[in-house]
């Protein structure tokens, strides 16, 4: 069973290591006549500018994960450490919002992105990479910040739910005694509660990184310029450019999935904890 599970991946690796000419001549189901090589990886790395798209993805994912954790932990803190009337309603709004299929909201959201004015304050340029502050077309549409924004808002729903589940187990006495000692709520959140939530935050960070890294839909709809695309949507374009060269596409696809696999291997415990935190306590 395990072998069966790994086979598609193994086959992709095998195809990606074979020169195109070899497979044209002998078919894909054959022993390598001219040996294996990394030529496809080299080609896709340079021709398809894979490193550039890695950067695009990171520019979106890193601020996305940090902002999501900050916002979600704030909401979870306020709704679990204090007894307000609307705690449950707020938590429900966030949780349910994350469960909606993104396609339900996409039509009006697309309009919002095309009609929200955003300041154009120049850009940060490093080499051939340019990050606009905040928008190079005065809109949310087709901007890094637009993609970051929707990721943050959408995933805050999920992260709030999981973090609220976790913070519920922290006794309210901690917050109360800190209040008695004269700390303000912002300091309690930052200096007292967040350190206590470190395991949950680590688990969420791992999971959110993978979610945002693997996103295809938001970038497909809300970005237009091909040079701003993250690696997943860029990969889809690769298919158009190198249509017949399966070996090259396989190499590109495998390069694209290296970061999440590395994260998974290194942080497997956090990853699984993140997924199960929300479900088993519920």
């Amino acid at each position: 069973m395990t072998a069966l599970w790994l086979f598609p991946l193994f086959w992709a690796v095998y195809a990606s290591l074979r020169p195109y000419g070899d497979t044209v001549l002998h078919g894909y189901l054959s022993w390598p006549a001219n040996g294996l090589s990394f030529i496809n990886y080299q080609n896709v790395w340079t021709q398809a500018e894979i490193p550039y798209y890695y950067i695009n993805t990171l520019v979106i994912v890193i601020p996305g994960v940090i902002l999501t954790l900050l916002l979600a932990s704030m909401v979870a803190f306020c709704c679990t450490q204090f007894s307000w009337k609307f705690n449950l309603v707020v938590l429900m709004l966030f949780t349910a919002g994350n469960l909606l299929p993104p396609q339900v909201i996409i039509v009006p959201l697309y309009w919002v992105y095309l009609n929200t004015p955003i300041a154009n304050l120049g850009s940060i340029d490093i080499g051939n990479f340019s990050f606009a502050i905040f928008s190079d077309n005065n809109l949310l549409y087709d901007q890094y910040i637009g993609i970051i924004l929707i990721h943050v808002v959408f995933q805050t729903g999920f992260a709030t739910f999981v973090l609220a589940n976790y913070m519920k187990t922290i006794t309210k006495e901690i917050t109360e005694s800190a209040l008695v000692d004269g700390a303000n709520v912002f300091r309690i959140w930052w200096n007292v509660i967040l350190p206590l939530c470190r395991p949950a935050l680590a688990a969420m960070a791992t999971l959110l990184f993978t979610f945002m890294y693997n996103d295809f839909f938001w970038a497909l709809v809300l970005l237009k310029s091909s040079y701003k695309r993250p690696i997943t949507t860029a990969l889809n374009n690769l298919q158009g450019e190198f249509l017949i060269n399966n070996n090259l596409i396989a190499a590109g696809a495998l390069l694209a999935c290296i970061p999440p696999i590395v994260v998974y291997i290194l942080l497997q415990k956090q990853f699984v904890a993140g997924l199960t935190l929300g479900s088993t306590k519920g």
Partner: protein
């Protein structure tokens, strides 16, 4: 089942004094919070909440409102744009892609619920039995879950491709006249991508279920064994009922995954020719191929209404513990 009702009863009686204490505590807390603190708290909830309402719930309601108009994303919306139920009427009777997409979503849901999810649960049960190498098996089955659906699509394309794919070459049908076009034939391509989707879904369910199984009190199983129950009996009569909460979550997760399906169908052939899905019709009608905002929104409303079933089930299950 008797077990759950008896354990719920003392919990309820405990709750009464707790509620009284809560009122007393709440009074004290309000005196602890300064005006400054209250403003800070309002901001800490208010900013994320505003964003959530503006970008998620606002558009959800807007979708419903727009579904009664014929607006095409040009100019302002006026009373003249209001067309009542016309979009829905056309969708159900005139639009030839709606029912196929609807049925594809249902098949997707049925496949995941009846095949992929039970398989994931089965793997979880097997791996829970502490056999040698459990962790390795677990990692292997879970590996596809971390991959983007774009990558999953490409990887399976290498399996399914008509002349170059592994499956046809292994079957020897690649060069014959009766070549099987796994992804191109509208009668079978949905099932091909469901196999690819399951490759990922099974691992996901397995991990969720495994966590649930680990939380089952081992003494329950011990007791069942002492009483002479077989392993199968123990699972169906003891473990499964105890796992009721997680079973609900697994069903909900499965349903939501089925309704959200978009990426893999879009990557294989833009969701055409046998791979139509409601999510793809929304995108095609309102954004990519046409700007029929009103009509696309009507499809979105149908998707929303179906999605509300698992969402409400999830909330009513989960919010009990958060309250």
């Amino acid at each position: 089942m008797a077990n759950t009702t008896t354990s719920a009863a003392p919990a309820r009686t405990q709750k009464a004094p707790e509620a009284g204490a809560l009122v007393a505590r709440r009074k004290r807390r309000y005196t602890l919070l300064t005006r400054h603190d209250k403003i800070l708290l309002a901001l800490m909830v208010g900013v994320p909440l505003t964003l959530d309402v503006l970008l998620i719930w606002g558009p959800t309601l807007a979708s419903v409102a727009l579904s009664f108009t014929n607006w095409q994303n040009i100019g302002p919306i006026t009373g003249k744009n209001f067309v009542g139920l016309k979009n829905y009427q056309f969708m159900f009777t005139g639009y030839t892609l709606f029912w196929p997409a609807f049925i594809h979503n249902l098949i997707w849901l049925a496949w995941l619920t009846l095949i992929a999810t039970p398989l994931g649960m089965f793997f979880a049960v097997l791996l829970d039995r502490e056999m040698r190498g459990t962790r390795i098996y677990q990692s292997v089955f879970f590996l596809p879950v971390v991959l983007s659906l774009v990558v999953v699509g490409f990887i399976w394309d290498l399996q399914f491709a008509p002349t170059d794919g592994f499956i046809n070459n292994a079957l020897g049908t690649a060069k014959s006249a009766n070549l099987i076009d796994w992804l191109g034939n509208p009668r079978i391509n949905l099932f091909s991508i469901l196999i690819a989707t399951s490759w990922r879904h099974i691992g996901y369910i397995m991990i969720l279920y495994l966590a649930g199984l680990k939380s089952v009190d081992p003494s329950l199983r011990e007791a069942a064994r002492v009483d002479g129950a077989t392993e199968v009996q123990t699972f169906f009569r003891v473990v499964l009922p105890v796992m009721a909460p997680i079973n609900v979550i697994i069903v909900v997760v499965t349903a939501i995954e089925a309704l959200r399906a978009f990426d893999i169908a879009f990557i294989i052939n833009q969701g055409k020719n046998g791979l139509e899905l409601l999510s793809i019709l929304i995108y095609n009608n309102s954004i990519s191929e046409a700007s029929l905002v009103g009509f696309g929104s009507a499809i979105a409303v149908i998707l929303l209404l179906i999605s509300l079933v698992p969402i409400v089930a999830f909330l009513s299950r989960v919010m009990r513990t958060l309250a």
